[in-house]
């Protein structure tokens, strides 16, 4: 390492990480534990895991689009009634059982449901989120997760959830939050809710 590198290192290290109070460090593990809703599943032996993975991948390739008659129809008047939420939960549970930890988005439309699957199993970043985006008479409804992207009429939106349980929908021209559902959203009508941690 040259002398110049040493000097730069010294300068970089002038930024200290601000310390927290002792109470914070005592509370933080409890904060984490409170968010551990799902129990740890017992270890799966490697051979069965590989078989499951291979089986799932084959199915995913062959069945990219699965028909699930969900009873949804297009139209911006569709709202999230208790029946809508219950039906969405049912659909998600069915798909998640087929593709554990690989479902990224389920697009629900009048002709059935279209799946977007991850190539590898990965725990989702949030509880499943039910999102409906309507614009100019066209509506799309999705079951997705925080961090995923969905599209309507060529525009892409990122769906996020925050620690308070709000669902955020962010596009090029809008940033909408379920915490402020009436906030103007550039002609878009959006509804979103979490489908629940227990799924």
């Amino acid at each position: 390492m040259s002398h110049r590198d040493d000097e730069l290192n010294e300068l970089l290290r002038t930024t200290c990480v601000p310390d927290r109070t002792p109470g914070y460090w005592e509370e933080f593990p409890l904060t984490v534990l409170r968010q551990l809703h799902r129990p740890v599943s017992p270890p799966v032996d490697a051979s069965s895991s590989q078989r499951l993975w291979a089986w799932g991948l084959g199915l995913a390739t062959a069945c990219l689009v699965l028909g699930f008659f969900a009873g949804f129809r297009r139209g911006h008047a569709v709202g999230f009634s208790a029946a809508d939420v219950a039906q969405s939960r049912k659909i998600y549970q069915e798909v998640a059982a087929l593709f554990p930890d690989r479902v990224q988005t389920v697009l629900l439309n009048g002709r059935g449901s279209q799946l977007v699957l991850a190539s590898d199993a990965q725990r989702p970043a949030s509880a499943p989120l039910l999102v409906q985006i309507c614009h100019a008479g066209d509506c799309r409804r999705f079951i997705t997760f925080s961090g995923q992207r969905v599209a309507l009429n060529g525009e892409t939106f990122e769906v996020l959830s925050d620690a308070e349980g709000n669902v955020l929908v962010v596009g090029e021209r809008l940033a909408w939050s379920s915490g402020e559902p009436r906030k103007a959203a550039a002609g878009y009508h959006i509804r979103a809710t979490a489908l629940g941690e227990a799924l």
Partner: protein, 182 residues
């Protein structure tokens, strides 16, 4: 980053679903993960969120921990990946930050102006470059260890360190102190 027998016991208990044991693991490693996340984000709030995400992800991935590496190395890698992913999410989320006026904390430090400039310079690096600097300069990993943590080749780490230093020198050229004006 060697594990103690006590810690290995906590890991095994956590793998059977014992949250109290996992809480002890969180307590032992929380400062390391918070520090990494803060270096990567420059924000106490973001660091807290990332630290929480890291430990929650670790809990859900514990079944995959076989003990080939130490637990601290394993969770450190999870945190690094989370931090790199955070940056890409945060970039796309800027409009949300503006819309809801989320406040980024100032950087509390004894020599605040210089520290702030340094932290801002770090935040201007490419996320992968920043992670490499954080791992090698702040956390003292050698290039081989950093490569394992980042999941890339050692030569990639060396190149990133080189390019990051070059950029930092330019960014910090006006900062009083050693290194910046060289």
């Amino acid at each position: 980053m060697a594990d103690t027998d006590e810690e290995l016991g906590w890991v095994r208990a956590s793998q059977t679903g014992d949250p109290a044991a996992f809480g002890r693991l969180v307590g032992r490693h929380q400062r390391m993960i918070h520090a990494l996340a803060y270096r990567m984000t420059g924000s106490l709030a973001e660091a807290e969120d990332l630290a929480q995400e890291t430990f929650i992800a670790a809990w859900h991935q514990l079944e995959g921990f076989r003990g080939e590496a130490s637990f601290s190395s394993w969770i450190y890698r999870i945190a690094v990946n989370r931090c790199l992913n955070w940056r890409s999410r945060a970039q796309r989320r800027d409009s949300v930050h503006q819309a809801w006026s989320e406040q980024r904390e100032s950087i509390p430090s004894g020599d605040a102006p210089r520290a702030r400039q340094v932290q801002e310079a770090l935040l201007q690096l490419d996320p992968a470059q920043r992670a490499t600097i954080v791992l090698t300069v702040y956390d003292g990993l050698n290039h081989a260890e950093a490569a394992r943590a980042l999941g890339c080749a050692e030569t990639t780490v060396s190149w990133r360190v080189f390019t990051a230093r070059r950029k930092l020198r330019k960014l910090l050229a006006n900062v009083q102190g050693k290194g910046g004006g060289a």
